[in-house]
Symmetry: C2
Subunit: 320 residues, 2 copies
Amino acid sequence: MSDDNTAFIGLDLGGTFLKFALGKADGTVLANGKLPSRAQESQQEIFKVMFAAVEQMLDKAHALNLHVVGIGVGSPGAIDFDHGRVLGNTPNLPNWTNADIRGQLQGKFNIPVWADNDANLMTLAECRYGAAKGARFVVALTLGTGIGGGIVIENQLFRGARFSGAELGHMSINFAGPVCGCGGIGCIEAYASAPAMVKNYREKLIKKQLPVPNPMNTELIFTQARQGDPLANQVIDEICFYLGAALGNIINIFNPEVIVIGGGVADAGEAFIQRIWKAVQGRAMEPALQHARIERASLGNDAGMVGAIALAADGIHANR
Amino acid sequence: MSDDNTAFIGLDLGGTFLKFALGKADGTVLANGKLPSRAQESQQEIFKVMFAAVEQMLDKAHALNLHVVGIGVGSPGAIDFDHGRVLGNTPNLPNWTNADIRGQLQGKFNIPVWADNDANLMTLAECRYGAAKGARFVVALTLGTGIGGGIVIENQLFRGARFSGAELGHMSINFAGPVCGCGGIGCIEAYASAPAMVKNYREKLIKKQLPVPNPMNTELIFTQARQGDPLANQVIDEICFYLGAALGNIINIFNPEVIVIGGGVADAGEAFIQRIWKAVQGRAMEPALQHARIERASLGNDAGMVGAIALAADGIHANR
C-alpha cells in the first residue's frame, strides 16, 4: 500500500497538559507523550510547547522510517476549522485568543495542519476508533466541569455556519430553570455537570442536617450511592432524569445511531449509562428511539489526541 | 444552455389536496394545479390522483416544448429518501402506509422520482427560493396543527440515520411539562401549536368567566390582541416565550444563518416574528446568536410543490 509509510501527529491542548501522539490513519498510536501546556503564559510560550511536541514526534517518525503528512490539533474554544485558528477567547487559556494554530505550526514545519474544537475531536475519535466505530450518525456528550457536545453526520463533524454549533451542554431542558454559566436558562449543563451534581448533593445533605464531606466530588457521590446512601442515589436518579430529557431531544432532533457519553462523570461506569438509558424511554419518538443506542466513551483521555490524528487523516484524504 | 428545455414536476400530497406544479430548476413555476387527494381512499386511488396530476403537467411541458427529467414528491410521514417510499403509517392518510411512491410513479412514467417528507420540502423550498435564499445553514419551523421542522446543513437536507430526525416540534422545553401527542413531555408542540394556543386562550377566558368565542382559532386570537385584548396579548407573549426557548436551543445546537418560521400561526405577520426574536435574546450563546436571523416563510402554500421541484432538480444534479 502506498499509505504504508505515512503517519500523522495529533496534539490535544488542555488547560494543564498538551498531550500528543504519532499515529496512523487507522488510529494506531505509535508513540505519545505529554508536556505542561503553560496555559497561563503567552501565546508564543504555548506554541513553543507545541513545537517541542511536534519535534519529539517527528524524531520518532524518522526513527520508524515514517513520513508525517499531516498534523491535527485539538484546542478549547470555538475553532475556525476553515482557517485553523481560534475564534475569540478561551476561558482556561487567557492568552490563547484568536491563536493562529495553522499559521504557526505550518510556518514552522511546512506540514499541513488542521485544527478543531476538543469536544469535536473527542467525538470524531469515538466515531472512527472508539465506542461508535462504524456508525455514521453519532452524537457525543462529555460530562465534566461543563457539558461538551459533538455531532457527526454522515461520518463528518457538524460545526454550524460559524463553528459555533453543537453546544449541546447549552440545550435548555427547562425554560424556567436555573441560570447557566453561559447566560442561558435551564441548560442541561446547569443540571448535570459535575459541579451541578456536587451542588445538588451538598444541598440535600444540608437540608437533612448531615455532614458535608470535604473535598467532595462526583466520584465520592457514586461511591456513596453504591454503598446505599439514599441521598446520593437520589442525586444520581435526578441527574439521569435530566440527561434522559436531554437525550430524548437529541434523539428526536438527530435520529443518531449512537449517543456516546464521556467525561469524568461517565467514568462511574456501565450501570450509570443504563440508568440514563432507562430515563430516555418515553422521552423520544419510537422510530428514532428504536434504532438508537447509548455507549460509554471507550477512548478515555486519549480521545483528543487520536481525534486530532483522525482530523489530519481526513484532511489529507479530502485534499488528495 | 443545455438545461434550457428541461423541467421538473413537483407534487405535494396533503390530507385534502394534491398540489402540483411544472417548474424549472431555479424554482420558476410554469404551470400548476390541485386535485382532491382522496386521502381516505385506497393507496391505488391516491396514486391515480398523482398519475392524473403528472399527466396534466406532462401535457403542459409538451405544449411548452419542455422535457421533464425528474419528478419530486412531498408526502406526510417519515419518508425513506433512499428508496422514495413511506416508512410506516401517516396519521391523516390511513391507507398510505409504506406507499412505494418512487416505484409507482417511475413504473408508470419512466421518469426518475424522488420523495421526501413535506416539512423537509417546505424547508428546502425556503432555502433555495424563499426567505432563506442564499443561506447554507437553515432551520425551519412550521407552526400549525402540529409543529414541523426541517434542517438544511451545507445546502442539503438533514434526515437522520433512519429518516426520523428533524422532529423539532418534539424538542422538550420543559422536562416536567404537559404530555405531548407524541408521548413525550413538554414538547414545544404541546406549548406553541395552534391547538395549544387556542387551549391557552380558552382557559384564560374561562378563568376570568368571560365568554369563549365559538369557533375559535389563532387568527381570532391575533385579531383580539391587535384590538387590545389583554388576555389575547398574554397568550401571544407566552407563545413567544416558549418559542424563544426552543429557538435558543436551535441556535446553540445548529448555529444556523437563518431560522424560517412558517405555517398558519406565522401568518400573523412580521410583528409576531419580531416578538419571537425578542424572546430568543438571552436564551442563546452570543457567537451563534449574533449571526443568526429569523425570517417569516415567504412561499406560503406553494412551498411544498416548489420544494418537490427543488428535490428532483437536486437529484438530477447529483446523478449527472
